[in-house]
């Protein structure tokens, strides 16, 4: 079993390093700095950390004003609240003026677990991807998280970075270098491609290993940048393997699956299937129970791959 590492911890520690390197980095929270792990930063730089209380709309507005004055604000809370609770504030105060604000939300998806529906963000990627000019990234492990946060700090423009609550096994090795809009090929393969993000990347690798034993050879892509998406990697997957399954901890509508479908339909139509949360809200439960209940396991991916391969033109 791989060692699991917290993405949030990687975020907090990277933020602290960045704070030491760049005095313009400032951090905003909404009464959750111990959960988002930004307290690593605020402990060392109390004058550059602003807890806005339970007021997310105000927090993102303050972040916009800081960015307009040359600061590099990182604003964090749970993904249900940013973007969910303050979409219009993000739209008008950050996206439209293309301000240099980094929204890093933790607790994305249903693996939040026992807190239940109110705290499970399953629409945030659709919301964030709808915003013109935003870069939207879902890191798959702690190594990638550290690199993505570093990348966002040094590249101008608005970013939405979605992290999850549980620690995840490492899928990137130390030589991995994050590039915006570039998918990472984790397995080469010829029969089908599994395109996954976040929590689902580990499940995709497990599915590919299991399918290999059945003689099905899968390519696995970590599509951590949802926007701007790596269109050429998607088209290449459709051309080379002729069938694609997407896997995401998000609603089927408006997330990774929708984006991949748009690119495939417009360039090289091929059979697709979508492992995602169907049009529903989820229950309280343990993360593993929830992934099982809502169809987000390696077995669900395997089933989808077998089905999609059957739909390939003869």
């Amino acid at each position: 079993m791989d060692r699991s590492v917290s993405l949030r911890e990687a975020y907090g520690k990277t933020l602290l390093e960045l704070g030491r390197e760049n005095p313009d980095i400032v951090v905003l929270d909404a009464d959750l700095c111990r959960s988002t792990m930004t307290y690593h930063f605020s402990a060392e730089f109390p004058d550059r950390a602003f807890d806005c209380g339970i007021a997310e709309q105000n927090m993102v507005g303050i972040a916009a004003g800081l960015a307009a004055s040359g600061k590099v604000p990182f604003a964090s809370t749970f993904a249900v609240f940013v973007p969910g609770r303050c979409f219009d504030q993000i739209r008008m105060s950050i996206a439209q003026p293309r301000l240099n604000v980094k929204l890093v939300s933790t607790h994305g998806g249903i693996t939040v677990g026992e807190d239940g529906t109110s705290h499970q963000s399953i629409e945030d990627l659709a919301l964030a991807c709808a915003l013109p000019g935003f870069s939207v990234i879902v890191p798959a492990d702690a190594i990638e998280t550290a690199q993505v946060v570093r990348f966002a700090a040094s590249n101008h423009g608005p970013f939405y970075i979605r992290l999850c609550r549980p620690a995840l096994p490492l899928v990137c090795d130390d030589s991995y270098r994050f590039e915006l809009g570039k998918a990472a090929v984790l397995r080469q393969g010829t029969d089908a491609t599994i395109i996954a993000i976040g929590v689902m990347v580990t499940a995709a690798l497990e599915a590919a290993d299991n399918l290999k034993r059945e003689g099905i050879d899968c390519r696995v892509l970590n599509m951590s940048t949802l926007k701007p998406v790596d269109e050429s990697a998607i088209i290449k997957a459709a051309v080379d393997t002729g069938a694609i399954v997407t896997a995401e901890e998000h609603l089927e509508n408006g997330g990774l699956g929708s984006i991949v479908a748009r690119v495939v339909a417009g360039n090289h139509p091929a059979p697709l299937d979508f492992v995602a949360i169907k049009d529903t809200y989820a229950s309280s439960g343990k993360p593993a129970e929830l992934l099982e209940r809502y169809g987000l396991t390696a077995r669900d991916i395997e089933k989808a791959v077998r089905a999609v391969i059957k739909r390939k033109p003869k």
Binding site: R48, G61, A68, K71, Q89
Partner: protein, 285 residues
């Protein structure tokens, strides 16, 4: 540019206007507002006209700013949170020299730099894209915090509508401005007592308005928002407040200066006809 201690010298060394000069500037701005909205065929005359003296006092008497260098880092900031009053800001920016006066006639046209609501990407001197109400105070807090972090001496001024104060975000922001002890932040509320659906007391009563701000930790100053002497004094007082933010509640008349627009909610968001523009311009001579 004058020394930072002397805040009454504005406009890249230009002298602050006298009250008499501001009276005449206010009329000119009102003529621009009525003309440009009439030409555009849509827009918000009422809340632009009510804010004329407030904006005139800031740009021609109080603020340090430089139309030749709109992004001068040490400029005082003016953030228009009630973005539908864009015409009063555009007219002022034109008279200051940020944009040509002739450009005012392009208001709301395709590809114009003067969009229906303010757009910070397009218009020199516009600090914030606004129009969705309730967001400017939060933005201004960010700007005021940044100034403090940078040890800059400038002041952040933000103009809100009174109807805008229905938005919950305004009160989130009001609470935090005091929490962060932002004495480099001055809010002005254009208290014209009207919003789209009618009088504010009928749509959503704001009173007791001054004590609301006070209880949120603000130093409250109430003035006649069409009286330059009172406005100048209020801004001086607001500047001197230490350890807390200040709000100037400027009591105004919606549609001020044009008889048939005054206190007429119909002119919140409707353009005057060509004949009405003529009539209005006669009144504004």
């Amino acid at each position: 540019m004058e020394e930072s201690g002397d805040r009454l010298k504005v406009n890249a060394g230009a002298k602050a206007l006298s009250v008499a000069e501001m009276e005449s500037m206010a009329k000119k701005l009102r003529r621009h507002i009525v003309t440009m909205i009439g030409k555009a065929g849509s827009g918000h005359p009422g809340g632009s006209l009510s804010a004329v003296e407030i904006v005139t006092t800031l740009y021609f008497h109080v603020m340090r700013h430089n139309p030749q260098d709109p992004r001068w880092p040490d400029r005082d900031r003016f953030i228009l949170s009630k973005g539908h009053a864009a015409p009063v800001l555009y007219a002022t920016l034109a008279e200051c020299g940020y944009i040509p006066v002739e450009e005012l006639s392009t208001l709301r046209q395709l590809d114009s730099r003067l969009q229906g609501h303010t757009d910070s990407n397009l218009t020199p001197g516009v600090e914030m894209s606004a129009g969705s109400l309730g967001q400017g105070l939060s933005f201004s807090i960010g700007a005021a915090i940044a100034a403090r972090l940078n040890s800059q001496q400038h002041t952040v001024y933000v103009l809100l509508g009174d109807g805008e104060c229905d938005e919950g975000q305004v009160w989130e922001a009001a609470m935090s401005a005091n929490h962060f002890k932002l004495d480099n932040l001055v809010a002005i509320v254009d208290r014209n007592e009207q919003q789209i659906d009618g009088w504010t007391c009928d749509v959503m009563d704001l009173e007791p308005f001054g004590s609301k701000w006070q209880s949120f930790g603000w130093h409250v100053i109430e003035v006649d928002g069409h009286d330059f002497a009172q406005l100048i004094e209020a801004f001086e007082k607001a500047k001197s407040v230490k350890g807390q933010p200040a709000v100037i509640i400027a009591h105004t008349t919606k549609g001020k200066g044009v008889s048939f627009m005054e206190n007429n909610p119909d002119f919140h968001g409707r353009a005057p006809s060509a004949e009405q523009v003529e009539l209005a311009l006669k009144e504004l001579q």
